[in-house]
C-alpha cells in the first residue's frame, strides 16, 4: 500500500436516511480500510441493504457524507460510483434476464472499454478489437468461477448457487476496488457456504480486493470477516473483531430480543 493513498477506502460519516417520517439509517459511521474483509450484520430490518443502497448511490443520504477512495460520493449516480471502483451484488439476484452468462459479464466490462457509438455503427477495427478484449476478459473471469462452460446459457436458467457466483463474477468484471456483497450466502446449504467462504477469501487475495459483506449466516460472517459492525434500527450498536462481537451484550440483546 503506497503512502499516497487515503488510509480508509471507505469512510462513511454520520449518515442519515429518512423515508418520509421513517428513519431507516441514523447517524451511521463506517470505516473500511484498504484490503479489509469487513462484515455488516444486524437483525432483519436493521437497514443493512439501505446502507448498501446509500453507498452505491441508489439513495441519497438525508444527512452526512460518504467518502470513497479519497473522494466524496454521496449523492452521485450509481454508474459514477461504479466507475470510481465500488460495485455490488444484490440481495435478490439481479442478473440481466434476457442475456447469456457471457453477455452478463461482458456488459460489466462496459465501463472499462473504450469505444464510441460510431465505432459500433460502422464497425471499425477499434470496435472489433475492443469486443475481442472484452470477450476474452469476460471468459477469463468465467473460467475462474467455473462458469465458462455455461457461457451461452441464459443467465436466469442457471441453478441458484451458480447465479450467485455469476453475479459476483459480473461485479468483478468492473474492476472494483471495493466489492459490496449483499447476502451472498442466502439460500445456500452448509457445503455451498463453505465454498463461498473460500471463494471470498480467495477473491480478496487474488484481486487485492477490499470486501464489505452483509450477511445473515453467522458462520460465514464469523468465519471470514476480520472486522464486524452491527447495526439495529439503522444505528450502530457495536464494532469490532468477531470474538468481541460474539460476546457483546448489546448485540446479543438485539438478536435475541430484550425487555
Amino acid at each position: 500500500m503506497s503512502s499516497g493513498e487515503a488510509p480508509l477506502l471507505l469512510d462513511v460519516r454520520k449518515v442519515d436516511k429518512q423515508f418520509g417520517g421513517l428513519a431507516a439509517v441514523k447517524d451511521l459511521s463506517l470505516q473500511v480500510p484498504h484490503g479489509a474483509l469487513f462484515g455488516l450484520i444486524g437483525p432483519n430490518g436493521a437497514g443493512k441493504t439501505t446502507v448498501f443502497n446509500l453507498l452505491t448511490g441508489v439513495y441519497r443520504p438525508t444527512d452526512g457524507e460518504i467518502h470513497f477512495d479519497g473522494r466524496r460520493v454521496d449523492g452521485r449516480r450509481p454508474y459514477d460510483i461504479a466507475t470510481l471502483g465500488m460495485t455490488r451484488t444484490f440481495q435478490n439476484i439481479r442478473l440481466f434476464p434476457d442475456m447469456t452468462v457471457l453477455e452478463n459479464v461482458m456488459t460489466a466490462r462496459h465501463l472499462r472499454s473504450r469505444q464510441w457509438l460510431a465505432d459500433a455503427i460502422i464497425g471499425t477495427p477499434r470496435h472489433a478489437r475492443e469486443e475481442r478484449a472484452t470477450r476474452a476478459r469476460a471468459r477469463e473471469l468465467l473460467g475462474i468461477f467455473g462458469l465458462d462452460a455455461l457461457r451461452d446459457e441464459v443467465a436466469t436458467n442457471l441453478p441458484y448457487g451458480s447465479q450467485r457466483r455469476l453475479e459476483i463474477a459480473r461485479a468483478l468484471a468492473t474492476e472494483p476496488k471495493l466489492l459490496l456483497l449483499d447476502e451472498p450466502a442466502a439460500g445456500m446449504n452448509p457445503q455451498e457456504s463453505l465454498a463461498l467462504m473460500d471463494l471470498i477469501r480467495w477473491i480478496r487475495t487474488e484481486f487485492a480486493m477490499t470486501i464489505l459483506l452483509v450477511e445473515h449466516n453467522m458462520k460465514v460472517v464469523m468465519g471470514i470477516c476480520e472486522r464486524i459492525q452491527v447495526i439495529d434500527h439503522g444505528e450502530t450498536i457495536a464494532v469490532g473483531a468477531p470474538a468481541e462481537i460474539q460476546r457483546h451484550p448489546a448485540v446479543i440483546e438485539a438478536y435475541l430480543g430484550g425487555s
Binding site: Y79, P97, D98, M106, H110, I121
Partner: protein, 370 residues
C-alpha cells in the same frame, strides 16, 4: 468480417440496388413493373426503415415510445423543405438538375441528411426529459410530443399546413428507399451486437443492475432514441418525396405511430427480422384486403384491431420473439446467438416490482412505506 469483405459487400449491395432500381424505374426489355405493385414495394421499404428504427428503442432498449410519427414528420418536412426551396440551387452547384441524374442524387442526399439531423435534434429534445420516465408514463409523454409536433406543423403555412406539403418534388426512388432500409438494418444490427447493444439490453432487463455495473442509463437511452429518431426522419423524407404521397399532419398522428408499433409487436419486439416481416405484412395486408373493404366498408380496420388484440392475448411475443434469422456469412466468427427468450421475462419484473421513479398513488390516496 474483414475490411475487404465489408467493402465488397458494400459495393455489391450498391450495384444490386442500382440494377434493381433501373428495372423498377425503367423496366427490363418488355417487362414493366406494375405501378400499383411498385408503390406497395416502395411503401414496404419505407415501413421497414420505420419499424426497424423503432425497434432500436422499443425492442432493444425496452423503452416504450409511441411518438415515432412525430420524428418522421420532423425529418420528412425538413427534408422536403430543403428540396423544395433549395433543391434547384443545390443541383446547380454540381451542374445538374432536379430531373434525375447526379444533380438530383446530390439533392436527395442533402435533403435526407437534413431530415436526419432535424429529427435527431428533435429526438434529443424529446428524449432528454422523457427518458427519465418509465413504462406507461414514457409512452404517454412520447405520444404527447408526437401530437405537439403535429399541431405545430399544422400551423406552418410554408410547408402546406393542413393540406399537406403538396409542393414536394417526387425524387424518391427505389434505390434510395431500399438503400436506406438496408442501411437501417445494418446500423441497428451493428448497435445490437456491440457493447452499446449489450448496455441497452441490460437497461431493458434490469435498469438498476445496469446502473450498478456502470452503465450510464439515461445517456444510452437518449443516444438510442436519437439514432432511432434520425432514421425515422429519413423515412419521412423518403415518404414525403415519393410520387403522389405528400406529407400531411393528419396522417402523421399517433394512429400512425401505433401502426408502426403494431408492426414490431406482431413481428416480435426485439427482433430485427420480426420488424422487417411485420412491416412487410402490415403494408401488404391492408392492400390485400382492399377488395374485402369495398364489400364491407370499414371492416378491414376492425379486423386489424381484432388481430392486434388476439395477438396480445395469444402470442404477445409476436412471430419471432427476440429471435433473428441469421445468415451465416453475416455473423462474426464465434458470435453467440441470443437464445429465444420471451420479452415477457424482463417485463414480468416490471409488473410485480416497482421502480424508483414509478410514481403513482394507490386508490386510497395515501402511500405506504416498506
Amino acid at each position: 468480417m474483414g475490411p475487404l469483405r465489408k467493402v465488397v459487400a458494400l459495393v455489391g449491395t450498391i450495384a444490386i440496388l442500382a440494377a434493381l432500381n433501373h428495372v423498377f424505374e425503367s423496366g427490363l426489355g418488355d417487362f414493366q413493373i406494375n405501378p400499383y405493385y411498385a408503390r406497395i414495394i416502395n411503401l414496404i421499404g419505407i415501413n421497414i426503415t420505420l419499424a426497424v428504427s423503432l425497434n432500436l428503442i422499443n425492442g432493444l432498449a425496452g423503452q416504450f415510445s409511441i411518438g415515432h410519427a412525430g420524428f418522421m414528420a420532423v425529418g420528412g418536412y425538413t427534408a422536403t423543405f430543403v428540396t423544395v426551396y433549395y433543391g434547384a440551387a443545390i443541383a446547380g452547384l454540381v451542374g445538374g438538375t432536379l430531373n434525375g441524374g447526379p444533380g438530383t442524387f446530390v439533392v436527395m442526399a442533402v435533403s435526407l441528411s437534413a431530415g436526419a439531423l432535424a429529427a435527431a435534434l428533435a429526438g434529443l429534445l424529446v428524449g432528454v426529459p422523457s427518458l427519465r420516465l418509465k413504462g406507461d408514463y414514457l409512452a404517454i409523454v412520447t405520444l404527447g410530443f408526437g401530437e405537439i409536433i403535429r399541431v405545430i406543423i399544422l400551423n406552418i403555412p410554408a410547408v402546406g399546413g393542413a393540406t399537406g406539403f403538396t409542393d414536394a418534388l417526387p425524387i424518391t426512388t427505389f434505390f434510395w428507399i431500399f438503400g436506406v432500409a438496408i442501411a437501417t438494418i445494418a446500423i441497428v444490427r451493428n448497435i445490437a451486437r456491440s457493447t452499446f447493444g449489450r448496455a441497452l439490453s441490460a437497461i431493458r432487463g434490469d435498469e438498476i443492475a445496469a446502473e450498478a455495473m456502470g452503465v450510464r442509463t439515461t445517456r444510452y437511452k437518449v443516444m438510442a432514441f436519437v439514432v432511432s429518431s434520425a432514421l425515422a426522419g429519413v423515412a419521412g423524407g423518403l415518404s414525403g418525396q415519393l410520387f403522389a404521397n405528400p406529407l400531411n399532419p393528419q396522417n402523421l398522428n399517433f394512429v400512425k405511430s401505433i401502426e408502426i408499433v403494431v408492426m414490431i409487436v406482431l413481428g416480435g419486439i426485439g427482433s430485427i427480422t420480426g420488424a422487417v416481416v411485420g412491416a412487410a405484412t402490415l403494408t401488404v395486408l391492408p392492400e390485400a384486403l382492399r377488395g374485402f373493404d369495398q364489400q364491407f366498408p370499414g371492416l378491414r380496420m376492425v379486423l386489424y384491431a381484432l388481430l392486434l388484440i388476439l395477438f396480445m392475448i395469444f402470442r404477445p411475443q409476436g412471430l419471432f420473439g427476440r429471435r433473428e434469422l441469421g445468415w451465416t456469412w453475416l455473423r462474426l466468427p464465434g458470435r453467440t446467438k441470443i437464445p429465444v427468450a420471451l420479452s415477457d421475462s424482463a417485463d414480468a419484473r416490471q409488473h410485480t416490482g416497482r421502480r424508483p421513479t414509478d410514481r403513482r398513488s394507490t386508490l386510497g390516496g395515501s402511500d405506504t412505506d416498506e
